[in-house]
């Protein structure tokens, strides 16, 4: 048994210690907002935050998450940066199919929490790991900039 602190709530799970967080979230806890895309940390669809850091849950074993605070798309709107990001995403109608957007939002809100006024280069560096096959990148960039404006100086 391992205790995971996810979105402010403790969950007891009985899973192998090397099991990636992605499958714990999706298949054990039923939190399906976090998506499977590649299984190799290549696409970012599975991004969640560990102590505020964006990580790829498809390669992060549950053992590495046990002592951390885990935040997923289901609760990112409760953080100031996450809320602004979600609002900006809606304002720009960023999502198309929407499948990658949980991961995009988790990466973007981690960026903004750390760096409230990112440059284009900061955005590139933080977001290059998140693939979107619908090609919403231009709107993602615009939405991050809008969300940053709401951060105050």
């Amino acid at each position: 048994m391992v205790t995971l602190r996810i979105n402010g709530k403790a969950h007891q799970v009985d899973v192998p210690s090397d099991m990636p967080m992605l499958w714990v979230l999706r298949d054990v806890l039923g939190m399906t907002g976090t998506k499977f895309g590649c299984g190799m940390a290549l696409c970012g669809a599975c991004t969640v935050q560990l102590d505020g850091q964006a990580i790829r849950s498809c390669v992060t074993p549950v053992s590495a998450a046990a002592s951390k605070t885990i935040t997923t798309i289901e609760a990112i709107g409760n953080t100031p940066a996450g809320k602004r990001v979600q609002e900006a995403w809606i304002a720009h109608d960023v999502p198309q199919c929407g499948y990658c957007q949980s991961g995009q939002i988790m990466s973007a809100s981690a960026l903004l929490a750390r760096k409230p006024h990112p440059t284009d280069a900061d955005i590139d560096a933080a977001m290059a790991g998140n693939i979107c096959r619908c090609g919403t990148y231009q709107r993602i960039r615009a939405a991050i900039k809008q969300a940053a404006q709401g951060a105050g100086r």
């Binding site: 054990v28 999502p95 199919c97 949980s102 619908c134």
Partner: protein, 717 residues
């Protein structure tokens, strides 16, 4: 070509609970072999207005990002006189007799057809319902319906100001006779169509609640992952399951003749189990096939004449007498779709019934596939559709449904079959490899006097939509080629059908147009060069009879800074697109060759005329999306074969465009009242040629093979 003019039949049924159910159907489309014997008066889509005022559109079209749930709702809401946020959507169940897309002849979301097919019917359905609701209100008040008006779900008697809500009128409206004719709104009175209305699916897609097929969860559900034969046509000879069964969480190994699945409590156990299996395959006839074999077959086939899809003038004589003859061969590789949501399907086979949960562009085909595998009648198979985590043509196929049902037949519980990314890339239904021979004759002034284009590749339509395969002509394979707008006195377009059954092939975003536009528009630049003319000026001179094409070309050239000087190492390329979709699109792309040799796209400018625009923001989003998908495919997209096996497996070796590589994409709309054109695919189709022409402008290297990055490395100046 537009669906609006097709015969429509409207029926009214009284819904359970006293609401108004309004349906309609449209006549047979392209895929209906015998429209005369098509099913009778069953409706093809429904508006449901409940007594509590809830308005539901049962949505026949699948939402895969293209915004169709928004645009379809806008068509309905405009004429029904309700606000967009008053409309609730339900995925339609599978039923071709109810939900056929009039252009494609069955329940199908593809070919950039949703707005084209439903622009008339959904507006008519809305207008008819509105007329009946107004009629019911007028009858209640004993007044002339002409003295009443409807707005935002409320009917008002204008002289007295009395009001009744739609919900209160639904039951009475259902008892009224169907009006013979309803007046559609004059487009100048539109309040919704043509506006950038917000997508109702956005909120659920930013908070994790949007439900994709892969998100289905059922009581007692197990998870499976699968390995199909790595070579098409191969079979399982033997499986050693010992180690897999020892993996904690693994419940069952299911063996099919061509695949093995591991069924487990969760995906991790299933993946571990699959990795632990020792499977011996018999590879079958494709065991030793490589890409070179495929190309060899196509090249040989290209030497024989094909079926002529368009012919005018005397191309042979014109070519023979030309002052200058330009000839080239072009190649376009196999491509995978790589939707972000890997293929998956959840199935519960019970005694005498089967239930399926998935994301599909062809829900009725999904049901038919499940019925075929289980041997159950169609009415015993229930299929639920979901948001699609990308379609791009991949989910026009039901191979993954068939496979999941075959697995589920052996499992005594609901089972969700999820493909790994590797399985997804290596068992796609790929865009075919195409091989084209193209030639043009120029007169002494450099004006084209002859054009011949021979397209060599499979006939996907013959497999996929046999009724549409007529006189040996695959309308998809030649799409975009037969509509050539350039005024040339002698033209011949041929298709040589050549099947290479080493991989399954099907539709990829932009379908036949994607490959044809790359060939045609690259070659236009080649002959412009031969004629020593500017690529835009050369095209303009041949478009005098195509004002809409000329307009988008001029707009893209102007906004794209055509002719303005660029720094060394940069180049600008142009391409123009017109096809069966009815949309005119011109693109100017600006690229740079980095010192590493990498092609960097700096800027893309598009000018698009898709006729009547339903939602300009979605049109722009689709062009942006199409361009990004097109850049990925054109620069890097390539599936290759070695020993019958696909060599690519995941995003590290099937490269796609990332945020840091994405250029600004500007979209300029030409607005007019012409019939709506398709918009989901053109942006993809026009991009390869624009990029290739830009590379030529920057380097002087003419690339005739995709993907461009590899071709650039391989081409000596």
């Amino acid at each position: 070509m537009t669906a609006v003019s097709r015969r429509e039949f409207v029926t009214v049924l009284t819904a359970a609970g006293g609401g108004l159910l309004l349906g309609y159907r449209v006549g047979g489309g392209r895929g209906s072999a015998s429209a005369a014997t098509a099913p009778g008066l069953a409706p093809n889509a429904f508006i449901r207005i409940a007594p509590d005022g809830g308005i539901t559109l049962i949505m026949p079209q699948a939402e895969m990002g293209q915004g169709t749930h928004t645009s379809m709702s806008m068509l309905l809401a405009e004429e029904l006189e309700v606000a967009l946020d008053q409309v609730r959507l339900e995925h339609a169940p599978p039923d071709d007799t109810l939900y056929a897309n009039s252009i494609l002849g069955e329940q199908m979301t593809g070919a950039s057809s949703s707005v084209r097919a439903f622009y008339g019917p959904l507006r008519r359905a809305g207008a008819t319902a509105r007329a009946m609701l107004v009629g019911a209100a007028a009858a209640s008040w004993n007044v002339d319906p002409a003295s009443c008006r409807a707005r935002k779900g409320v009917v008002t008697h204008t002289p007295t100001g009395r009001t009744l809500r739609y919900g209160a009128l639904a039951a009475k409206a259902a008892t009224l006779p169907m009006p013979d004719k309803v007046a559609l709104k004059d487009p100048k009175d539109f309040t919704l169509i043509g506006t950038p209305a917000k997508r109702p699916d956005t909120p659920g897609k930013v908070n994790g609640t949007a439900q994709f097929g892969i998100d289905v969860r059922l009581p007692g559900m197990l998870i499976a992952t699968v390995a199909a034969s790595p070579v098409l046509g191969g079979k399982v000879v033997a499986v050693d399951v010992q180690k897999a069964k020892a993996v904690v969480g693994v419940r069952q190994i299911v063996q099919l003749d061509d695949a093995v699945a591991v069924v487990a409590d969760h995906m991790w156990a299933a993946k571990q189990g699959l990795a632990a299996l020792d499977i011996r395959w018999e590879d079958g006839p494709n065991a030793n096939v490589s890409t070179a074999d495929v190309v060899q077959g196509l090249a040989k086939a290209s030497e024989t004449p094909g079926v002529t899809a368009r012919n005018h003038g005397d191309p042979a004589s014109a070519l023979a007498g030309a002052a200058q003859k330009v000839e080239a061969t072009y190649e376009a590789p196999f491509l995978a779709h790589v939707t972000m949501e890997p293929m998956n399907c959840t199935v519960h086979v019970r005694t005498n019934e089967c239930e399926v949960w998935t994301g599909s562009q062809v829900l009725s085909r999904a049901r038919a596939a499940a019925a075929k595998v289980t041997g159950l009648p169609l009415e015993k198979v229930v299929v639920h559709n979901h948001f699609l985590g990308g379609g791009f043509g991949r989910r026009l196929e039901v191979d993954y449904v068939t496979q999941a049902v075959r697995i589920a037949k052996q499992v005594d519980a609901p089972v969700k079959v999820v493909w790994t990314r590797e399985e997804d890339i290596q068992h796609d239904v790929y865009r075919p490899y195409y091989y084209d021979r193209i030639a043009a004759g120029l007169d002494a002034k450099g004006t084209p006097i002859a054009w011949t284009h021979r397209i060599v590749g499979p006939a996907i339509i013959a497999r996929y939509l046999p009724p549409a395969f007529k006189n040996g002509i695959d309308i998809d394979a030649v799409d975009g080629a037969v509509q050539l707008l350039y005024e040339i006195p002698a033209i011949q377009i041929e298709h040589v059908r050549h099947e290479e059954p080493v991989l399954n092939t099907g539709f990829w975003r932009g379908v036949g147009v994607t490959h044809n536009n790359w060939v045609i528009e690259s070659f236009m630049d080649e002959i412009a060069t031969a004629a020593k003319q500017d690529p835009v000026a050369f095209r303009r001179a041949l478009l005098k009879k195509s004002p809409r094409a000329l307009a988008v070309l001029d707009l893209a050239a102007k906004e794209g800074g055509w002719g303005k000087p660029l720094p060394r190492g940069r180049g600008r390329g142009v391409a123009l697109l017109f096809s069966e979709w009815g949309t005119y699109l011109a693109e100017v792309a600006e690229i740079e060759i980095a010192s590493s040799g990498d092609v960097r796209v700096h800027r893309v400018v598009c000018a698009v005329d898709c006729g009547q625009v339903v939602n300009p923001d979605i049109v722009k989003a689709q062009i942006e999306s199409g361009v990004v998908y097109g850049i990925s495919g054109a620069l890097w997209g390539e599936v290759t074969l070695k020993d019958g096996r696909v060599e690519q497996s995941n995003f590290h070796n099937y490269r796609v465009l990332r945020m840091n590589e994405t250029p600004p994409i500007q979209v300029h709309l030409v607005r007019n009242g012409e019939a709506p054109g398709g918009i989901g695919e053109p942006g993809t189709s026009v991009t390869a040629a624009a990029l290739s022409n830009a590379i030529y402008a920057a380097t002087g290297k003419r690339l005739r093979k995709l993907p461009l990055q590899a071709a650039l490395a391989g081409v000596a100046r």
